[in-house]
Symmetry: D2
Subunit: 392 residues, 4 copies
């Protein structure tokens, strides 16, 4: 049997992009020192700051979000520095490996991947372990669909004199994130998640005191693709790009920032929450099990569904994709789970229904008992309730 | 409450277009006598012939399909000519008004708009009414979602010496249509239905004997936008366009023809049939009533659902669109009905589920009893069965 | 030798479109009764009115501009009506044929195709021939690159009680045209000329008294693709489209109207004038002869160059296109001439240089003496002078 | 005076992209593990190999070309390794700084930036300095528009047992480059130069023996954005991406590779050579001075023009851009020079004329004596000669 054509990309990033975003990506490529592009780049930075809710510097590094994480982690650490890393998923754990390889003295709070490190645990740890200079955390652990409460962790770290480096790759634009209010020093996000853009740019927000540490740090990369120092000294201070930025991606990123700002950031966040509620209601009513230990820590950008041992997540994903033209995500190291993203453009309207229907039928094909009808009914009821609440 | 953004165009034409089609529509506009465009135009004609299954001349008139219907009806009739018109819906009825206004002696077989004129009725009529020179019929009556059996009507008309003019606007590319095999003289289709293209071009297939009548007919429009004579004398015989063709639309049309030919016409037809089966199964299992008197005459490109008097079709369409971002079609003169199209790109994958879910919830909001869960379950079961059958 | 790929479309319509226009043409196709499209259509009408400089009704007919000319000419005439037609080129002459075929009593002032009918001649004719109810004229005769002075002809016609029907297909958006100020009753334009859009829509501006005549006229087409009555009764009075509009083309047209309004209509007109000055300066300095009898009547949207008998215009156009990738226009019935358009996006920057260089080299290849260097130098000097004047 | 809108991007990369390339960049974003994307990625690698003329492994790193240069340089060197670097321009010189910072024992042959290191000089150096393990060179020094003869340097290095790392960022796809024939171990190119693509991907070709050194090298970056080891172990051996590739950019890159392969690589190279000949002829006939010491070492992808001290290159570039809508490049560290690129789509047709005309008028505005007419005439004569030669 031939593979069905791809109709719906409901994966956990890259997710689907709007036609407007695609038009921006396909707009003419211009020289990076053309006055039009210089203006575009500055506008993109300013719009990004609004989405980050910060007055800090914005850096748009060319590359997938991970280039920003690597650049930030390298620039913010030096051998022997005490760093507290919160590990509640694959990406959090990975940050710990990096920190160790960069020579930091790693302190880590680790929880099972369907739970979240609590702010209390962070506070206790910092209290008991003085001298920690940096706290690193993942706001939204995409592979497992959980969130950690940065609104509390940021101020706690600040209280104990530690800076914060937050991986908010899959949350900015869809989940509440208040960089300045929460006193976060370095935040890294990607364009291809809740913003619905291309996976070609890492967006960073960097506080003045973080810049100070970065510039003072002899271990900060310099004259390198992963150098934040270069961006500060060349671009921020001299309007000279350290290398040619990806013009098309910048066009795409400006467009997705425009779209989220025109919609209103609060509204976009509410939209992700509503799609998540509908999806979770649908999953439960189908008789399936949510991965996240509680709704409180379930990410509003992606819903993870625990599969029984009898059904393999990669096989399930492939079966659903090949038969029904719907691309979901599998567990990516976090466990035997399927993930239905509701990110950016897919956190809207009937998209949760598409994901639920395709998953339900696919799992039924693979021998599971799934009450699809009940699931769709519950999800639609939730969607209708959201509309009615908005109408009041 | 604000209107939801549009996510899904599942209306009965224009229907949604693929990204590839949109890219073709957005490709550079060139001069109509540029050698590249002349080549494009010829290729589009050749590809259209394959989709029409004919060796007859193809004419690509610029304008919505109705320009082709008017041009053909005017060119094929003269005052006093006996014409048999089959009226089983809004468009069939409208053709009768036109024929009368053009001076033809109108003969008409009319049936309720949820039924279809039978080939037997046509044969009897022709037998009893000698001298009929033209039979006109609508293959797929889009406003009511019914089909008439042209595979039999064509040969019957030929047997009695009448030519045929068939409105196949919403069927070509999605429903079986064999122009030559069925001995059809003039066929008219549009790009924005089963082909999934723009509503800017009428495509006609014209037999040699139809051309003969058209050129001989003093009543055929000449030097006019609705003139087929101009297309024959200027373009077909001299490669001079009677007027500037819509370059963008021609690009779009070539692309949709490419797509259907690459997929395979038989495969595309099977895809529409499968989507229709799933949709009808879903409608029935929801406890709703299909409009078409029997599945045999239900069109595979659009499924019509009869609404009770308590719910107005336009209000229902608007409610669904404004709340759930899904655009369906209302009755358009045929009755109090909602239409879920499965045309071109929407006759695939999970699109029937989207239409069913949005319709079901919308009707529920408006006070109807709808078993959405059962409907979605039945539709998915049908979709899965199609995949499994293909796998054998 | 193989044909060079097409790099530059400098033909007299369709002309090149901007990337922004192409993106609009390639934006998603929506249902014509979707609230988004209804809003788009109204906006396009309102923006068109601004470009026409009128408060009259705007009608957007689907089809190349000629559909609008035919619709207007048919609707405005009745058998026996006295009509004065100004024939100074191919399109003006064609209007006369149409008027005769529609039964009008044709009065015609004809001049050689490189000259223009003067307002004085019109006034004298109307004075000497009372009872003329309609004056028809072509503002910009695209095939010969000449203009007639509608700013005077409109008021003269009004003074003598005649209505006016003006073919402004290739002038609106690039040449000054004041519909209301000049008292013009019916104006027809196309999107693919100075607006730089697709050739799929005819735009008309119709005065109240013209509507009155059209609705009263029993000869006005009704229930037809070329019917203005349908647009008035169905769309203008009832928001029901007489047929499905070409959604993509409407998107394209709104975009080009936006672009000209954002630039400023005065600025766009000045831009066309500047490009025309540069082109004419270049042609003259090359030692070639301009077709228009005087600069005063040379159209600012297209410059026509008279060729000697030894060089055929179609052959020259083809040679230039096939060797240098630049598409110019040939004479199209007006004479042995080449046309360099500076329309819409090609009335800007270095485009006149491209046209002049390609034409110059092409004609040199064909044996003519052409001082290309002097021509380019003169054109650049003119372009630089325009920039300097703007800088003051 | 307001800035003119941008009409022509004739800069030395990013250069203009074709509409087909832009459509590819704007095509739907899909999940990186979707079967369609996996297939696309493999196809892009295979097509790149054909353009590199190699059977070696291709690596498509996400990021501007420099990420590939850094990754390759880091992976191929270890502290104390003897490396011979050829410095004939800004990028060559920069490679030397990198090598030193990575701990290599730097050997360097340096020449003025308008000259080229000769193969003889390389051979002599290697003969006199045994133990050199790597030779690094820039094939086409974009900032100065010069080339070095890698067809000889590759085999010479091989003969002396050294591997080669060649920066061919601005040459692949436009200048002759035979990776296997010339025995080059590591080649790095970018998409945004002669390929006419987006600046978001670095393309590398890596020989088996280079891989061996890279994997053996404890200094090769690992678990890093600049790691070639990751690409080998994860992607090449396990079909797992080290990070999410930039889906849009990969679409764009596949498209530009398609375009060059459909044209024919030899034909594309000839096209760049012809555009360069026309440009150089035009520059000389204008009375301006070419930067490259001889035509033999002048790059066919970009022509550099030496400016007198009285005219500043950045000011000239800005003046031309702002007044005439043509973006050229300035010297970028190599000297007081203007650069007219003829790269990818701009190495065709009338584009050299556009660049020459804009530069000529701009320099005239700034007070220089420029015989523009003679320059355009000479360039057109060269272009016409190329067409005639092709016709034989």
């Amino acid at each position: 049997m031939s593979t069905a054509p791809l109709d719906f990309t409901l994966s956990a990033g890259p997710t689907m992009a709007t036609p407007r975003t695609l038009a921006a990506l396909g707009s003419p490529i211009v020289y990076h020192y053309d006055p039009e592009f210089i203006a575009t780049f500055h506008r993109a930075e300013e719009k990004a700051a609004k989405v980050f809710k910060t007055t800090n510097d914005i850096v748009l590094m060319q590359g997938e979000a991970i280039v920003g994480l690597e650049a930030a982690a390298r620039a913010m650490t030096r051998p022997g520095m005490k760093v507290l890393n919160l590990a509640q998923g694959v990406f959090g754990k990975g940050m710990g490996y990096w920190l160790t390889s960069f020579g930091a003295e790693l302190h880590e709070i680790e929880v099972p991947y369907n739970e979240a490190v609590s702010p209390q645990a962070v506070e206790e740890y910092l209290q008991q372990n003085p001298g920690i200079e940096l706290v690193t955390a993942v706001h939204s652990e995409t592979p497992s669909g959980t969130v950690t409460d940065c609104s509390k962790i940021g101020p706690i770290a600040a209280k104990y004199g530690a800076m914060t480096l937050i991986d908010a790759v899959s949350s900015i634009g869809g989940l509440e994130f208040e960089t300045d209010e929460w006193q976060i020093d370095v935040v890294v996000t990607g364009a291809q998640k809740c913003l619905g853009g291309p996976p070609g740019i890492a967006l960073l927000a960097i506080s003045d005191r973080a810049w100070e540490r970065i510039l003072d740090n002899p271990n900060s990369p310099r004259d390198s693709y992963v150098s934040l120092v270069d961006w500060k000294l060349k671009w921020k201070q001299n309007e000279a790009f350290p290398y040619t930025p990806s013009v098309s991606d910048v066009h795409g990123v400006e467009s997705v920032l425009d779209q989220v700002l025109e919609e209103g950031l609060e509204q976009a966040i509410a939209r992700h929450a509503a799609a998540a509620r509908a999806t979770r209601a649908g999953v439960r009513a189908m008789g399936l099990e949510l991965w996240a230990a509680s709704d409180e820590i379930a990410a509003d950008c992606v819903t993870s569904v625990r599969l029984p041992d009898s059904v393999d997540h990669v096989e399930a994903r492939t079966h659903i994709r090949n038969n029904y033209g719907v691309m979901l995500s599998s567990g990516q190291g976090a466990g035997n789970l399927l993930r239905l993203a509701h990110m950016g453009p897919s956190a809207r309207g009937m998209y949760p229904i598409v994901g639920l229907a395709a998953m339900g039928q696919g799992l039924r094909d693979l021998g599971m008992q799934v009450d699809i009808g009940a699931g769709i009914d519950a999800a639609l009821t939730e969607i209708a309730a959201t509309r009615q609440a908005a109408a009041v």
